[in-house]
């Protein structure tokens, strides 16, 4: 026998339907996602007005994937292009300086114009006007290719000089074990995870000059702490 039996009509708050309904309370968070244009279902369109003003949803796409049309790049091909990239832009003191208007010699030979949000219809925001005004743009408006090689326990290049307002297509490879290639951006970071022998890419535009710490956020061995580099945004 149970210790206590509730036998007659119950209060609303102890009825099964009421309790079950409140159990789905977490689903209500969908509203917040929709408000920020971070959900693909119909309510997302309600945020379109915000996008037009370049506010909340505009920068929400960070993390989107939109490279479904890209062909495969093998690690060997990455390393070949990486060497060519270093040979072209490395300065005598070891830094890599990528001029804003310079197009890498293999630029976009196998890529169409990036459409990072084609899969979900959220437009890619333009850089903030104040930055874009001062940033040199490549003639065709396409991102410049950057090749970042992560390995135990460092990055090459470990110091890059880039320009604010210029979109860069970061192609990244962890050639031994999994690594991170995260960007510390002052009051927060953008975390990037790389898996061994998988070429990853992200198109990144820095909007403000400054120094950006590039650091490994996936444990990779004893000297994991020391695995860092920097990007100087001019």
């Amino acid at each position: 026998m149970e210790p206590t039996q509730l036998e007659s009509k119950q209060h609303l708050t102890t009825r099964r339907g009421f309790i079950a309904a409140f159990g789905f309370g977490g689903v209500a968070l969908y509203g917040a996602w929709a408000a920020y244009g971070a959900s693909p279902l119909p309510f997302t369109h309600a945020s379109g007005g915000h996008a037009a003003h370049g506010t909340a949803p505009a920068k929400a796409p960070a993390g989107h994937s939109g490279h479904g049309a890209d062909p495969l790049m093998t690690p060997d091909e990455f390393l070949r292009r990486h060497e060519a990239f270093l040979a072209r832009f490395r300065t005598p003191d070891g830094r890599v300086v990528v001029p804003a208007a310079a197009a890498p010699e293999d630029a976009h030979a196998d890529h169409g114009a990036p459409q990072p949000h084609a899969t979900h219809g959220t437009p890619t925001p333009p850089p903030a006007q104040s930055h874009a005004e001062h940033a040199p743009q490549p003639a065709d408006g396409e991102p410049l290719d950057i090749y970042l090689h992560a390995f135990r326990f460092g990055f090459t290049p470990d110091e890059m000089h880039l320009r604010a307002g210029q979109p860069y297509r970061f192609r990244m490879l962890a050639s031994d074990v999994s690594h991170g290639a995260s960007l510390q951006l002052g009051h927060a970071s953008r975390i990037v995870r790389l898996r061994a022998n998988v070429v990853s890419e992200q198109t990144i535009t820095f909007h403000r000059p400054g120094r950006v710490l590039v650091y490994c956020t996936v444990f990779c061995g004893p000297a994991h702490d020391a695995m860092s580099g920097r990007i100087v945004v001019a």
Partner: protein, 562 residues
């Protein structure tokens, strides 16, 4: 308002699930006692490693990097695998025995399982101590230069999995024997135990899937396990939610024993809720992989949407338990919420631990839901945000719930009164204070990008200076909650040493106070109100994360991979 009549029973009658521990047979008490001791030993070790880690992360200790990562490996291995799984094995066995009110079925199998867990524990610890740090997932990528360490850690985990699977089988057989004895079929708790034990066996299969390829490779019998990361994620999700299911079952049992009230929603509804874990949990695993390169956008979106449902069974169980507690307090007389709260048996360590466990679950959920949104993953995954929120679950909710259960069961198992119950009633609140400090530091540090698995976060002076104060909060909070938890562990372990007092005398103080009057019709608004507040907190945390992401001086697109 409608009226409700209630049927009360004497609190001295051993009819609630936990009070039935007093009827355990001597051989079963010995087995359960060994399992409890083993689990608490693992917890004590895990706490010690955790304190060391907290001191390292706060900068107060500066070991060689290898040592730091070895301690991190040992902390995760010991606390996350051996404490949580062994505690589950002990709890499911105890509750199954309590359901049956007789001898455990397949006791030999359960003993074999216990021996396997102990052997696995020794093997994993030795491998983690002697070899290069692989972290608790025993990552074979990091062990290519020393496959013996991979073999030791994965071998240990496989022994652990075999061990808790055998104990789960014994529990299932015991509960099914109960069904044969009872006229009316299984109780809700018995049904929940079956689901839980079944889920444990599924978890063991997932562990084999995750670790056997690594063991075969390390032993020279197989190819390198390139799919180890994916296989780990499958197990990892299981590792997350199985203890949470165990927790709500413990709450379900404790609420009955502490208040004498059976759930207002009835047995059938409770069974549906327990079974729903099997429906809601497996499809919601994708959010762990949002940062994986090459994961298609459609999968990320589907993962986010499905993850919205991950809390459904836990929240429903929470509402049932809180409703039961509220009905109990309302039956005690008039008064506001404060007066009603005072009527709960806070002088019982089980109630104090369960109360704090419920609070920390709500806090943890508010922040956990930030991470189920794929577009926020690049802001927070792999940062201190993750340990910042999951310790609310792993320590505050799950560990304290198991401590609560053991505080009730151990005196019955050992025949000895609980050690210093007044002191043990205070400890959960100190744990809560420590967790709040740890969580505030960890969540803040994570939002600013502090990586979760880096011993020295200085980066040659290039890291933001603000990282340090947040990590100091992590260290202080971690030491505080670990110290209080260690006292609770000591108290339960001390009480496990067999005493000379009789079983009934030991168990008696923990049973709910007698109530003879019929309870009036009872509303239970506390649970729904808590859910409303939880959703508001989820909104706050999620909006804050979106705003932070949008403030970054960078626009990024793509997580694609070739």
């Amino acid at each position: 308002m409608s009226t409700t009549s209630t049927t009360m029973t004497s609190p001295r009658a051993p009819q609630t699930p936990l009070s039935r521990f007093a009827t355990l047979q001597t051989a079963d008490r010995l087995l359960c006692g060994v399992l409890i001791a083993l689990s608490l030993f693992a917890l004590a070790l895990g706490i010690a490693y955790g304190v060391a880690m907290a001191l390292v992360r706060s900068g107060l200790l500066a070991p060689a990097p290898d040592t730091g990562y070895r301690v991190l490996t040992l902390h995760g291995t010991t606390a996350f695998f051996y404490w949580l799984y062994t505690a589950q094995a002990a709890t499911v066995l105890l509750l199954a025995a309590a359901e049956k009110k007789g001898a455990l079925a397949l006791r030999g199998l359960a003993w074999a399982g216990t021996a396997l867990i102990a052997a696995g524990f020794v093997l994993s610890e030795l491998a983690a101590i002697a070899g290069p740090p692989l972290l608790y997932e025993a990552n074979p990528e990091l062990g290519t230069d020393d496959p013996r360490t991979v073999a030791g850690m994965t071998g240990g985990y496989l022994l652990l999995a075999a061990g808790f699977a055998l104990i789960a089988l014994s529990s299932i057989a015991t509960v099914l024997a109960t069904r044969r004895q009872a006229d009316g079929g299984l109780s809700a708790l018995g049904f929940g135990l079956l689901a839980w034990a079944g889920f444990l066996i599924v978890s063991a299969v997932a562990a084999v899937n995750a670790f056997l390829p690594g063991l075969l490779w390390a032993s020279g019998f197989g190819a390198f396990p390139h799919a180890a990361t994916t296989d780990w994620h499958i197990l990892f999700h299981n590792l997350h939610y199985l203890p949470l299911m165990a927790t709500v079952l413990v709450w379900y049992a404790l609420a009955q024993d502490l208040t004498g009230i059976s759930p207002a929603t009835g047995t059938a509804f409770s069974k549906i809720v327990f079974a729903s874990y099997l429906v809601f949990v497996p499809p919601t695993s994708l959010y762990h992989m949002f940062l994986e390169p090459g994961l298609p956008e459609s999968v990320r979106v589907a993962g986010s949407l499905l993850s919205l449902f991950v809390s459904v069974p836990t929240l429903i169980a929470f509402l049932i338990v809180v409703a039961s507690l509220e009905i109990h307090t309302r039956a005690g007389g008039e008064g506001g919420m404060r007066a009603r709260l005072r009527r709960l048996p806070w002088d019982n360590p089980a109630m104090a631990n369960m109360g704090v466990a419920i609070l920390t679950m709500l806090i943890g959920l508010a922040f956990a839901f930030v991470l189920i949104q794929e577009k926020l993953a690049p802001l927070l995954s792999d940062t201190m945000f993750v340990p910042g929120y999951f310790h609310f679950f792993a320590v505050g909710t799950v560990t304290q719930s198991f401590i609560a259960m053991l505080a009730m069961a151990v005196p019955a198992v050992s025949g000895r009164p609980l050690w210093r119950p007044r002191l043990l009633c205070v400890m959960p609140w100190i744990v809560l204070a420590g967790l709040l400090l740890f969580g505030a530091g960890g969540l803040g540090a994570g939002l600013m990008g502090v990586p979760r698995r880096v011993v020295d976060i200085g980066y040659g002076g290039e890291a933001p200076a603000i990282w340090r104060p947040f990590m100091a909060m992590v260290g202080i909070g971690g030491v505080l909650f670990a110290s209080a938890l260690a006292v609770s562990v000591f108290g339960v372990l001390r009480s496990l040493v067999p005493g000379r007092r009789g079983l009934a005398a030991a168990a008696e103080p923990h049973v709910a106070a007698a109530r003879s009057a019929a309870a009036p019709a009872a509303a239970a608004w506390t649970g729904p109100l808590a859910v409303v507040l939880l959703v508001a907190a989820m909104y706050g945390a999620t909006i804050g994360a979106f705003e932070l992401m949008q403030s970054l001086p960078v626009t990024a697109a793509g997580g694609g991979a070739h």
